[in-house]
């Protein structure tokens, strides 16, 4: 155990920090044209992705031809630390870069790589993930969107829901049922579906705090024709592909999460320092205690993340992944609850003009996205209990 990294790692950090200072998108251009969904690529974002790709900073651990520089895991870690510190997003299409592109590299044809994966890396295309359905949320295996082989392709019919960024994405990484007669896990395939395919329609889902604007959508497929060349990997091998795809997302996602926890906590503590002196003693102590508990959570999440990273970096497995997912998203939720309660009746006000962002109470409701999507907290606990701790399936 040690607190600091080797000099070589720190020198890698300096190199990136210098490059970042010179090449980063400015605050002004980012706020002037913000990304309004998780597959929206504003002009600055397209340019920024391309610049990172060209200079080998997009995914440092990948080879240069894929926008990287064969960096070691610990180097990727400090790279992410620097991006977070500079408050520069690595991408405005995280699922495209983090899940879709690597899955295509792993399972796709050369043509699929050049038509779909490389454009993501160059900031030319964005992707959304078509997984959840009205009847299949946590339970992917129950999906019922059908893709029927017809001629030289598939005809897709069905509906997806909670599809982040679908209204901006160029294509969809679509999980669909290609063999309705096989056991549930064995009849699923992945298609790459251009969103402008006739028969694909997107309906934004009005959201709990901002009905007028949303990242989430329903996507309807009505006799949408998809060429056979857009089948990713083997037919009916989608289940294995889903596991592998989502695994790409893990690894170091925790770092961004932890750094967001830290900056949220800093904001909470700063506001508390203004508010607490005005409270009666008992309530002051109570509020302070709530905030300190959040601090313990945040620091625990951070230490747990670094501990888990150290295990992975040594080639071991890190059972903390499911644990980090559940604990960080729940800590995030708790931070916002404590934030809204800290403000007493002022916590009921929406859209905090001073902070220029949603109020704590709105963000509290939004934070359930973290404990529900990408495997609910309940699913994560099942995973911990069964896969990590070896408890028998019920």
């Amino acid at each position: 155990m040690r607190l600091t990294f080797d000099d070589t790692v720190e020198s890698f950090r300096s190199t990136f920090r210098a490059w970042l200072g010179e090449n980063r998108p400015s605050e002004e251009e980012m706020t002037a044209d913000p990304a309004v969904s998780s597959a929206h690529l504003p002009g600055w974002a397209r340019r920024w992705t391309r610049r990172m790709f060209d200079d080998g900073w997009l995914v440092p651990g990948w080879p240069p031809e894929r926008g990287g520089r064969d960096a070691a895991p610990v180097e990727t870690l400090v790279y992410l630390e620097e991006l977070e510190r500079a408050r520069v997003p690595r991408t405005t299409n995280p699922q495209g870069l983090g899940i879709v592109a690597p899955s295509i590299f792993e399972f796709g044809t050369e043509e699929q790589v050049s038509r779909y994966a490389m454009p993501i890396l160059r900031g030319e295309k964005s992707a959304c993930l078509g997984m959840s359905e009205p009847g299949a949320g946590s339970d992917l295996a129950s999906l019922s969107t059908r893709a029927t082989a017809e001629g030289d392709g598939f005809v897709v019919n069905g509906q997806k829901v909670w599809t982040s960024g679908a209204s901006h994405a160029d294509f969809c990484f679509l999980f669909c049922r290609t063999d309705p007669d096989a056991p549930k896990h064995k009849g699923i395939s992945v298609l790459l579906v251009d969103m402008d395919t006739p028969g694909v329609t997107v309906r934004p889902l009005p959201h709990i705090t901002k009905p007028e604007q949303t990242d989430l959508n329903e996507v309807f497929f009505t006799d949408a024709v998809v060429p056979a060349a857009n089948l990713l990997g083997q037919l009916n091998n989608g289940w294995a592909l889903a596991g592998a795809s989502l695994a790409h997302e893990r690894g170091m996602v925790w770092l961004g999460t932890v750094m967001e926890l830290e900056s949220t906590f800093d904001r909470l503590a700063a506001e508390a320092r203004e508010i607490l002196p005005r409270l009666p003693a008992f309530e002051q102590a109570h509020a302070a205690d709530q905030i300190v508990r959040c601090y313990v959570d945040v620091q625990a999440a951070k230490c747990l993340g670094y501990r888990s990273f150290a295990k992975l970096a040594r080639g071991g497995s890190a059972p903390e992944q499911a644990l980090m997912k559940a604990f960080c998203s729940e800590s995030h939720r708790r931070l916002h609850l404590v934030g809204s309660e800290l403000h007493g009746d002022g916590g009921l006000d929406v859209w905090d003009a001073r902070r220029g962002e949603q109020a704590w109470i709105e963000q509290y409701f939004n934070s359930f996205g973290g404990t529900i999507s990408a495997g609910t907290s309940e699913i994560q606990r099942n995973i911990i209990a069964e896969r990590v701790l070896g408890l028998p399936r019920g």
């Binding site: 339970d139 359930f368 529900i372």
Partner: protein, 379 residues
Amino acid sequence: MDLELSEEELELRDNVRGVLAAACPPSLVRSVFEGKDTGDALWEQMVGLYWPALALPERVGGLGRTFVDVTIVVEELGRAVAPGPYLATVTQFTPAVSELGSPEQADRFLAPVAAGETTGTLAVAEHGRWEPAAVAAVARPEGSDWVLTGSKSTVLDADTADEVVVVARATDTAGIDGLGAFVVPGDELEAFPRRVIDPTLRICDVVLDDIEVPADRVLAEPGAGGTTQALRRVLDEATVAVAASTIGACRRIFEMTLDYAKEREQFGRPIGSFQAVKHRIADLYSIVERSTALLYFAALTIAEDDPRRREAASLAKAAAGDCQRLVAEDGLQLHGGIGMTWEYDLHLLLKRAKAGEALFGTAASHRAELARSLELVAP
């Protein structure tokens, strides 16, 4: 001690619930949230059913029933996330006039309430604090009139109420001494509606800019004996009513979550058949039942003017706070993504439950009050 509703009370509840199911469906609530409806028609219907008159004395045209009945109505209003002036008029303005004013003033201001002609509210809080000692607004005498200056926060319906009871203090007084109460016509106040998480509650801030109050509108002259004690009794009622609204919303969230858990299937079975989900729903049921029991006890202490009323009010509000915290969190979590959509009704209730926590003292501030009354900490 009998803490279960009587036949008559059950009938009232079922009646109110039935009326609201028809007259205040989620579609109306959503329209109010979206600024497309005011909910005025609903209020007219309530008036037609004599709900505002329920607990008023027959002398002023009321039905002479008790605060327990009001609690039952308010619980149902919370359950329906009903908009409108009922809460402020019946559980804040009315007790303020009754407790603080003279019998003549009660007749004058409450008869129109019973008749459904007047709505009212109570402006006591400042900087989000309801305890009498937090009042800083000043009332200074001018001839036989009084002039009010200062500001008030978190006044329900201040921009629409016909009459507003304003609490202010004599110049150069502090703490619980020197308080007075005045009835000010709503249109004489500057009220600033706030954009809050539950738009069916019209929460306003108020500025008192040299408002002249004639003698016949002074409920209690600043410094008159017993004013603080009377004000505390008003706050007891208002507090229990907010707890009732909160618990009504929480019970509905619980029921929706229970129903959803029975219907929603994942992995080939209803999610309510998973034991972890079951146990959490059992815990939701437990906390709703416990909070309801404390709520009814508090309502009874007020209806029967029992000396435990103040403590009971704090117990009910503290319990309602814990209840909404757990029920909102697990209710939304167990619903999954559907609960996060605007089109599904759950969020309306979540927002009502959260709003209740912050009105008339948070759970933490009522626990502080209990710590003092139990003599665990200095008063």
